[in-house]
């Protein structure tokens, strides 16, 4: 399912494309970087002149200090807005690129098929659009401009120093490239560790998460010691990981202070002898010292940018691979249209398997007439959910066809198909929005009377009045947590409000208590009138809603008929439900 990561060249092209989208900001940033570098070189030069001509005049003639001070302050005053603009424009570039990439990813997520979400944990999908983008943001937002600026500074400083004193410049600059090499190597050494630490932290999150969510099980079986021990192991691994990282940091980072001090020692010694011999002025000595200090950061930055660039391209290559490589459910080239009126549903020799296992459906043939309500029964694991999921094209069958209104679903535009097919999933999915919006999610413009009617039929009205804000109550983690049965009823109402001609209900009342179910079963039938319905269920009381029951076993339809006839047949259906009738 996961396409291979993109190679370096296509990744770079993709990044360059995103960079070009922010051309104006990039150009402003680069322009300011140039001016900034020039000013940052000019200030020490003015100071040098102030020392040589005024503070400690070399030729005995002492000039006034004021013009120099004025020049220094003026340069600083110009540098301030330039530096502001440089930083602001540059970081905005990165922010906007990150924003764009996230937008592209999210748009792609909306198109990906269920099979994608089956094999990718939610956390992974989310972090690809959040944390994983930060290296890209910093590389494009900071790295590219800073890299060019670093080069300007390095060349500028080298030129100035060579002009002042070539021999001394050569000596002083020998050790400096080591700063860039050191930083680069540090980045390469520390990045794998820090990625590992991130992973270890994610393990801790997972351990914390499952222990907290599953606390009732942990306490019920008295297994606190086990989960504590497991958590401690994972927490200790994080500590060890961070300490490994600190060991590398301890080895490399002080070197960033130490290496320049080697160059400075060289300046003090060789520059000092030059001063003694009269080849170098006090001001020039200052200039050398100052510019060497100013050289440290651009070199360091180059090292950072190189290793950041590796991370950013790695991260971007994964992102681009997803953007380009994940196949969505194919849309027909010449789309068919669905007929008007009630729609029948047909499964023709349908075979289906998940990528991870054996075949779940092994040749299902099933014909459902328009307006018929069919209960899909069968033992746990018989393939009921898999069969239902083929209708809205969550998956496509490996073999055979699924038809709605006598049209192969793979030839209908997906949006059209999903407009006529409404689903209730086994685990009801609600969103953290008000109850009202959850209900009308499928049809935001549904008339309120219809909403109320559906809520009556699905038993939502029953509890909605008791919620703090009625239908405007916010649902979910930040709002009210509904019980499993309540969530199922909301999901059911939502499907009814969708006004779809085909409704797929996957065990829609399993968490609803018996009394409410009774109420639902009575009310549901009229609400479903005129629509074609498939209900998967384990409950006889739910089967009663249906005109016909079909029984799935080991991936094929083994029985089909009216429920009461099936009960008498003595086959699988009566094994599934017979006893319930018998005891009552």
């Amino acid at each position: 399912m996961d396409p291979p990561d993109l190679g370096l060249w296509p990744t770079t092209r993709g990044l360059a494309h995103l960079w070009r989208e922010q051309k104006q900001l990039v150009l402003v940033g680069l322009g300011c970087a140039f001016v900034y570098s020039t000013l940052s070189l000019a200030i020490p030069i003015v100071v040098q002149r102030a020392i040589d001509h005024s503070i400690a005049p070399t030729n005995g003639h002492r000039e006034s200090l004021w013009p120099y001070l004025g020049a220094i302050v003026a340069l600083a005053a110009i540098r301030f807005p330039v530096n502001f603009t440089r930083r602001y424009a540059t970081s905005r570039t990165g922010i906007r690129v990150e924003w764009r990439m996230r937008e592209l990813l999210y748009q792609a997520y909306l198109r990906y098929p269920r099979a994608f979400y089956d094999v990718h944990a939610t956390g992974q999908v989310v972090s690809r659009a959040t944390n994983d983008l930060y290296p890209v943001r910093y590389f494009i937002g900071w790295g590219m401009t800073q890299g060019l600026q670093s080069l300007m500074m390095i060349f500028g400083i080298a030129i100035v120093l060579f002009v002042v004193n070539a021999k001394l410049a050569a000596i002083a600059l020998i050790a400096m490239p080591l700063v860039a090499i050191l930083t680069y190597n540090f980045g390469r050494r520390v990045m794998p560790i820090s990625r590992e630490v991130q992973q270890l932290k994610a393990d801790v999150t997972e351990a914390a998460d499952e222990s907290v969510v599953g606390i009732e099980m942990v306490q019920a079986f008295g297994r606190e010691d086990d989960v504590q021990a497991r958590f401690n192991v994972k927490a200790s691994r994080v500590r060890d990981g961070v300490l490994r990282q600190a060991r590398v940091e301890g080895l490399f980072l002080p070197g960033l202070l130490f290496l320049p001090s080697l160059s400075i020692a060289a300046i003090v010694y060789f520059g000092g002898t030059d001063v003694i011999d009269g080849h170098l002025t006090n001001g020039q000595f200052y200039l050398f010292y100052q510019l060497l200090l100013q050289l440290v950061w651009p070199l360091e930055a180059l090292g950072w940018i190189l290793s950041l660039g590796q991370r950013a391209t790695a991260s971007a290559s994964r992102t681009f691979a997803w953007l380009q490589g994940i196949e969505t459910i194919p849309e027909a080239a010449e789309p068919a249209t669905l007929p008007d009126g009630p729609l029948g549903v047909t499964f023709e020799n349908v075979h289906f398997s998940y990528p991870t296992g054996s075949e779940v459906l092994t040749g299902v043939d099933l014909e459902i007439t328009p307006g018929e309500v069919v209960a899909v029964c069968g033992p746990t694991g018989a393939g009921k959910t898999s069969l239902l999921n083929l209708l809205p094209r969550f998956y496509d069958p490996d073999e055979g066809r699924v038809l709605v209104g006598n049209v192969d679903v793979s030839t209908v535009p997906i949006a059209d198909l999903r407009t006529v097919v409404a689903v209730v999933t086994q685990r009801p999915i609600l969103f953290s929005i008000p109850l009202r919006d959850n209900l009308t999610a499928a049809r935001p413009d549904a008339p309120w009377e219809e909403v109320v009617a559906a809520c009556e039929a699905a038993g939502v009205a029953h509890f909605a009045a008791d919620l703090p804000d009625g239908y405007d109550t916010l649902i979910g983690e930040r709002g009210v947590n509904l019980s499993g049965g309540q969530r199922q009823r909301v999901a059911l109402a939502r499907a009814l409000i969708a006004n779809a001609r085909v409704i797929v209900l996957d065990d829609p009342m399993s968490a609803v208590d018996t009394q409410t179910e009774r109420h639902l079963v009575t009310n549901l039938r009229p609400a479903l009138a005129g629509r074609t319905v498939l209900i998967a269920t384990q409950r006889l009381s739910t089967v009663e809603v249906a005109d016909r029951a079909v029984v799935l076993d080991d991936g094929v339809v083994v029985e089909s008929g009216k429920p009461q006839e099936l009960l008498q047949s003595g086959a699988l259906f009566s094994a599934l439900f017979g006893e319930e009738v018998a005891v009552a």
Binding site: F231, T425, F431, T514
Partner: protein
């Protein structure tokens, strides 16, 4: 703990045992911060004494001393970075473990009041915030603070008047720094907030993608996402705006400071009280004040969030567990005689159970029926002592549960819930959860007895199939099967099945009942179920309505008598209109598992 402290000072609790290391690191820090200052004093000496006086040997000596000092600084910094990381990480680890251990002792009431996500953030992002501050932040804080102090001292050593210049320029710098701290902290919080909203939006979309796609809601969700994504862009931009103002501002102030030093230095030079090397050294010394100030300002936000994180963590640590062992709690080897002695209980103000009386002899099976909200699950939870009754007592083998050692008692329970929680790991791991030392054969036997092996067959790795946390990818019925196997393997003395088979077909359920009968013969069990067939095997059935027992007795007697049970049964199967009820059950059943039924109905 004699005194409760909140905030970062509480971290000191984790320092004992590391005192020596901390003291050694403090010495390292002071010496290290002093080193670059000392180095600049050497440079001054090189200019004033060697260059101006043309003393080459002295120049050589100065350079050697300079290199020695900087080498020392290198070694010390290495030690400091590693040592502080160790101290910080030990603190965080201790805190994280304490927090987790404490959490596992808190009662279900706490977990039902606090949202899971909130609690998890304390263990993860809050602990990480502390970790960041304590490992990298601590080094930055210690080194930079000491460096600034050392540089100020150094300036005074150079010349007290130059030192005064630094003191004059410092206040506006601190004001600017303070402004930035306050503003950027607020901006940082807003960034965090928008990131959280955006992440939640993405996470919710991913988790609910089936419904988004099924109902063609892509465009609406994209619009919502665009808003969150744009808000995040704006807060980030604002934070960067502040950064872009502050750091160039500090840089500009640094130049002003340098100008002032040149100005004052020039005057002092004219009066002959200092030499040019002192002025040069002073200019560089100023760098050592401004550079660390920038880094410290950056750190401030981190320290603030760490403080906030610590406060929230402390909130959990200071929560007293509601359910815990009494002094002198007994180890109980459970026989299974269960009694509720006039038990009254409420979650809030309204009682959920009113003076309930139950007596289940060891080895008997009790069924609880009644509509939801009647108090069935609450009764089951009181058996597990997840809550304590407000009045009355729950007794096992005559012992009040409040006087029994909790964990040992619970290890003799088996609990299965309707929406069972599966842990990340293989199916086998999940079955083994309550008895980690069970052999592979034990697991396979139980899996076979319950029918888990049948559903596992569709996975290529069978029982070794990796389940994601929560059991995504498995149907509700499959999760229930696995959790029943888990409870069975635990070999409990008391088994609680709370709607445990609601998503399982009846033949499979019969298979389970047979397994339970065989493997847990003579064990006490409590069954909550809505399916009549499920409760008929109980020795006693209680009908719970609004927290009161309205009817009790054996299945056939209850069904024969006028009363709520018959109403309930009628609700379930009041299907005379559809004719289902009257349909006779005939014929043999195709599955051997179901054959048990044919011998007993009617």
């Amino acid at each position: 703990m004699p005194k409760k402290r909140t905030g970062l000072s509480r971290l000191g609790h984790y320092l004992p045992g590391q005192r020596l290391r901390v003291a050694a690191l403090a010495v390292c820090g002071v010496v290290m911060a002093g080193a670059p200052v000392a180095a600049l004093l050497i440079v001054r000496d090189a200019i004033n004494e060697a260059m101006l006086k043309r003393d080459e040997p002295r120049l050589g000596r100065d350079v050697v001393v300079y290199l020695v000092v900087m080498s020392l600084a290198y070694v010390l910094q290495t030690t400091l970075v590693r040592g502080l990381a160790r101290v910080g990480q030990n603190i965080v680890l201790g805190l994280r473990q304490d927090l987790f251990d404490h959490l596992t002792t808190l009662s279900l009431r706490y977990f039902s009041q606090q949202k899971a996500g909130w609690i998890i953030s304390r263990l993860t992002s809050d602990a990480d915030a502390l970790s960041d501050v304590l490992s990298q932040g601590l080094t930055t804080l210690v080194v930079n603070t000491l460096t600034i102090l050392a540089a100020i001292v150094g300036l005074f050593v150079l010349d007290w008047r130059l030192g005064l210049v630094a003191l004059v320029i410092l206040p506006p710098t601190l004001v600017l720094g303070r402004w930035f701290q306050v503003k950027s902290h607020a901006a940082f919080l807003r960034v965090r907030e928008t990131i959280a909203i955006m992440t939640a939006q993405i996470a919710e979309s991913v988790a609910g993608m089936a419904i988004i796609q099924a109902f063609n809601r892509e465009r609406a969700f994209l619009a919502e996402f665009d808003k969150a994504n744009a808000a995040n862009r704006e807060t980030n931009t604002h934070a960067q705006y502040l950064n872009s103002l502050f750091f160039p501002g500090i840089e500009a102030l640094g130049v002003v400071a340098m100008g002032s030093v040149l100005f004052v230095g020039d005057h002092l030079l004219l009066s002959g009280s200092i030499q040019v090397g002192t002025v040069t050294a002073a200019v560089f010394m100023l760098n050592m004040i401004f550079q660390p100030l920038q880094e410290l300002s950056d750190l401030y936000g981190q320290v603030q969030s760490a403080g906030a994180a610590m406060e929230k963590i402390t909130g959990i640590l200071d929560t007293e567990p509601e359910i815990r062992d009494a002094d002198g709690a007994k180890q109980l080897s459970v026989e299974g005689h269960l009694q509720f002695d006039r038990v009254t209980f409420s979650y809030g103000r309204e009682p959920v159970l009113h003076a309930i009386e139950i007596d289940v002899p060891a080895g008997n099976c009790l069924a609880l029926v009644g509509e939801s909200g009647g108090g069935k699950s609450t009764t089951a939870k009181l058996v597990g002592r997840f809550y304590d009754p407000e009045e009355g007592a729950v007794r096992v083998d005559g012992h009040d549960l409040r006087e029994v050692e909790l964990r040992a008692y619970r290890r003799q329970l088996g609990v299965v819930l309707q929406d069972p929680f599966l842990f990340a790991g293989t199916i086998a791991d999940n079955i083994r959860f309550a008895r980690p030392d069970a052999t592979d054969e034990d697991v396979a036997d139980v899996a076979h007895a319950i029918g888990v092996d049948r559903i596992a067959r569709r996975f290529s790795k069978g029982l070794l199939h990796e389940v994601r946390e929560g059991g995504a990818g498995l149907s509700a019925g499959e999760r229930q099967l696995i959790s029943i196997a888990r409870a069975l393997l635990a070999d409990p003395r008391i088994l609680i099945l709370d709607e445990a088979t609601s998503n399982i077909d009846r033949p499979t359920e019969i298979l389970i009942e047979q397994a339970l009968d065989r493997l847990l013969r003579g064990r006490t069990s409590i069954i909550i179920a809505h399916r009549l067939a499920t409760v008929r095997r109980a020795d006693e059935i209680l009908v719970l309505e609004h927290g009161r027992i309205t009817q009790r007795g054996r299945f056939d007697d209850l069904l024969a008598a006028e009363g709520p049970f018959r109403e309930l049964a009628a609700q379930l199967h009041g299907v005379s209109d559809s004719g289902l009820q009257s349909a006779p059950v005939t014929g043999s059943r195709p599955r051997s598992s179901a054959s048990a039924v044919s011998s007993e109905p009617e």
